[in-house]
């Protein structure tokens, strides 16, 4: 069964307020090596075996899963 793993993050040019706050917290904990943190969403989607899974996932990302004004996405499709 094809399974997609989808990663959605804010575009790199946009300030990630959550990421910055987590970065500050990590610094306070002593993890001073942290240079940047970006927060995103991770989705797993299982698909029926027929059809083109990549084309379907691409369409899902464009129509619903990501907002192209502020977000970017990438995904991988594996067979499990």
């Amino acid at each position: 069964m094809p399974k997609a793993r989808i990663y959605i993050t804010l575009k790199p040019t946009l300030l990630d307020a959550q990421g910055r706050t987590i970065q500050n917290a990590l610094h306070q904990l002593g993890f001073e090596a942290v240079q940047s943190v970006r927060v995103g969403k991770y989705l797993e989607i299982e698909l029926a075996p027929d059809g083109d899974p990549r084309a379907q996932i691409e369409a899902m990302c464009q129509q619903l899963l990501a907002n192209p004004v502020i977000e970017q996405y990438r995904y991988e499709v594996v067979d499990e």
């Binding site: 804010l10 946009l14 300030l15 307020a17 959550q18 619903l64 899963l65 907002n67 004004v69 502020i70």
Partner: protein
Amino acid sequence: MRAAVVVFPGSNCDRDAYYALRDVLGYSVDYLWHAEPRLDSYDLVVLPGGFSYGDYLRPGAIARFAPIMDAVRAYAERGGRVIGICNGFQILCEAGLLPGALTRNIGLKFICKHVYVRVENNQTPFTRLFRKGEVLHLPIAHGDGRYLCDEETLRRMEARGQIIFRYCAPDGSLDEAWNPNGSLEAIAGVANENFNVIGLMPHPERACEALLGSTDGRRILALQ
């Protein structure tokens, strides 16, 4: 005047909007459940604030696919007036009826307070009762109100006057210290290209009676 207030699962300012439109402004008002496939002739359609569909995925992302939204889109294309308040603004952006997007406040906090907003364009059906540059006192209550769009969209909106409200200091000057959520160019409200659809993060429906601290919202909702 006939107005409709759309109710999504998770809307929580629908009753405030209903009250302001009916009891303060004297309109005939209907609630429209999100599953309604049709929308009759109204003078105004309100998409109210709240947390439609729990803000799952992104605020407004799921509400945009509600059956009523096809009817709202058709109504807007016919020139019907639509105002999206807070979550309603987010829904209109997700639906592509307004440009841009709203994301997490820069300080991450949910902000609930009164702010000052400057009228940038008073040539719209929603701002014609104000002077250009007039400063309004309106409440906000949101966690995802930081308005963003790309450079080209921003330039086009500025040229056409689609930016209708900006957060400002009490004297009307622009100052990042008075931009509560980090919005691009302090944008608090925008219109579509035909100015019959607007969205704003402040809540005009909560600023219609002196008892609540401001009556500025009444003039946004007052239609001709």
